[in-house]
């Protein structure tokens, strides 16, 4: 069995994502992002497993992940996706959706965009449970049963499908560039065609 490295990092990690590398380079990705949950202060962090700092390591020894930078995050990180090589989006348990930018030269993270109440109830916060990106479009879903479409460069939401689901939507994914698939807590898959203006799914599949 291959080497398995375990490292305790003093926080519960909810999501890890490899940072996408440019298509031209043939290397494996070396940098990954993590989001934490169930902490009083949650964080989004960037780690590296490259050996660029330690020239003394033997060949074939995968370095310990080293933390490069981190940024505080309000609420649990329920989902984390990379928009492109430098930008990542997080879904928070407070209902917020945030775009972070990682600056590899200075090893810092800054907040580019923050939609505080992307998902909410009339008088309470609703967690944003999942999101999926296809740059520059971001589709998010939450416990309020709403599907929201954002664009990375625009301030407000591009499209909101209210009451897309009567129960919590747990996950979303792209089927085609204009169609998304969501799944809810009672086990139904719903297919949505974003080109159409209707608020009902084009198909419902029961598991």
């Amino acid at each position: 069995m291959e080497n398995i490295n375990a490292k305790y990092v003093s926080q519960k990690i909810s999501k890890t994502r490899w940072c996408p590398v440019s298509y031209s380079s043939l290397q494996q990705p070396e940098v990954f992002a993590t989001g934490s949950w169930d902490n009083e202060d949650n964080k989004v962090s960037i780690w590296s497993i490259g050996n660029h700092n330690n020239s003394g390591l033997e060949d074939g020894f995968e370095g310990d992940p080293q933390i490069l930078c981190e940024h505080k995050h309000g609420g649990d990180v329920l989902d984390l996706q990379f928009l492109d090589q430098e930008r990542m989006v997080s879904a928070s348990s407070t209902g917020a959706v945030t775009i972070f930018r990682y600056h590899p030269n200075t090893h810092t993270i800054s907040v580019l965009q923050h939609w505080a109440r992307a998902h909410s109830y009339p008088c309470d916060n609703a967690p944003c449970t999942a999101l999926v990106c296809s740059s520059p479009e971001i589709v998010t879903v939450g416990e309020d049963g709403r599907i929201v479409v954002f664009r990375a460069d625009q301030e407000g939401a591009v499209r909101v499908i209210e009451n897309a689901d009567s129960s919590t939507i747990h996950a979303v994914t792209y089927l085609k560039t204009t169609e998304v698939l969501t799944v809810n807590s009672i086990g139904q898959l719903k297919l949505w065609d974003l080109r159409q203006q209707s608020s009902s799914p084009s198909q419902i599949l029961s598991l």
Binding site: S10, S93, T129, E143, S167, S185, I186
Partner: protein, 652 residues
Amino acid sequence: MEEVDVEPTITNIPALRRGKHMGFAWGQGNIFVYETLFKATGATGSGSPFIHEVRKDEDIYSPILRKLFNESHHIFVGLQTIREDLPSKNKKPQFVSISKNYRSVIRACMEELQQVAVSTKNAEMSVQYGNQVSILLAIELIWNLCEVLFIDAAPAGSLLLHLLDWVRLHKADVDEKARDVLQSDSPAEHRDYWDVVVSYVLQGRLDEARQMLGKKATLTPAANNIFKMMDNLLSKMPFYNPGGTQTLTEFDVKWRHWHEEVDRCLQDNSFASNQHLEVLCKILLGDEDTLLEHKDLLGTWYHFLVSRLLFCHPTVKPTELHYYAQSCMTMFLDSRSAPEPLDSILLAAFEFDIHQVIKDCSIALNNWWFVAHLTDLLDHCKLLQSHNLHFGSNLREFLLLEYASGLFTHHSLWQLAVDYFDHCLEFGRVYLELQIERVPLDTERKALKVLRICEQRQMSEQVRSICKIMAMRALRNNRLGSALSWSIRAKDAAFATLISERFLQDYCAKGTFSDLDLIDNLGPAMLLSDRLTFLGKYREFHKLYGEKRFKEAAKLLLSLMTAKIAPRSFWMTLLTDALPLLEQKEVIFSADQTYELMFCLEELTSSLNTPSSDSDKSMQEEDVELTKVELLRLALSRNLAMAIVKEGTVET
């Protein structure tokens, strides 16, 4: 009531003013204090409006120590799964290796804390980290000793070798000094040179001592003889080899020979010309006064103990240890200063009084981590007699429960505590049942995690309670579908009924169903409650009607009323729904069915006409009701007529 073992410590609450009285309330692992309205004479000023939370255990909130808790949890779970059926002597190496694992975790934490303590700029934090480092050092020291004495339980001969290792591990400054000396231009003339040599000898590291001495020897060729003699003595000192063929008695004989030879050298004044070498010789003989002269090099009484045993009685038996320990401690420490907690704990360990060790550690430390894990390991080694404590469970379980309860108060570490409760056979489950309901559930994802824990352990009460909490929350936010799916998961019929009522009310208000995706796909969950079944079937009726499958729709509608699935309040609506079916050109309801419908109508109207029916209905409403009933009666009669004719006709 029993006496307390130590005086309770006093904590001052800085914000509360003097002369005021404090009120308090216990929390989980903490205590809330506040100022009461009571005004003692002389107390001035307005009251403080704050509630203060006082916590005993700060350690679980330290990010670095958190790794200690996580890693040791991993080791703990591994320990519990060691198979019980192996004979104990096969298990001993496993237990020793587990003990070493625990210790390496402590060391790793200690190193990290040390790094942070040095690098932080905040002076207060630096002090705090420093304190934590010293506590961890002490813990590791105690654990190591317990491992040597209790778990490894080395017999005479190996015992001393293990104790030597123990001391060497905890006296790292010798290596630092040696490095300094060796890196200097002229090591043999460094001021710490002889300190290093003596320290090596005190720790039984004779090869390194000889190497060091060699450097001096080359510098002073005139004294070559005596240096050679010392080197000879050092090289000939016998060390017991547990894996070898030599028995303990043979070793003892050899050792005495060597001891006599050293004594002869001293009596002959062979080393009189060099006072350092003479001191070394006396140390080799185990002369107490000489050893005590080097208190600063020894540092601690237990180092003194081990060195003394090395040079006086290397075949010491475990049972003899405590005599030596007690006397060494008395000789080493000033009679004026009281022994520190660490000293009494180590002494109790040398006396093989495990319970005393655990008790003293519990008092001295503010966190149950150490005693809980150590006791658990010792219990697995079958070293603890089952002590029935006043509260029923045994010592191991008591400590684990205390530790895990402390973990449960932490916003994140509660998940670790679950495993600890699982392995407390007597009370663990009860504790878990009480604690798991108090985990705050902010997101559905966390609620599902908690639920899974409860479902895996068949804690149906807690499952129901958690689902109800989530369902109520969903209901409050008007997420009926979510609420319904939670109550279905909990198999909570009452709540499902409540939600179905809401759905039906919505339907009556709006005329259409909301959340059709949920109702259409209820499946077998429909049978959870009568109201829910009705809801599902009623929706099915609408679907059938929409698909123009009138006969089936009619049958369904009738069965809803006759099988008493429909609530009485809804019958009017159902009968009104039947109207369009009755008005169709084609006969849909058979004669029998029509009779049944009429029966239902009569039942309904008779109950409506009783004087107990609500009298606050306005005249208009009553009129509407009457008209509806009339229309129905008309439609039913017409249908009946057509049905009888149709059924009576013979097709030719």
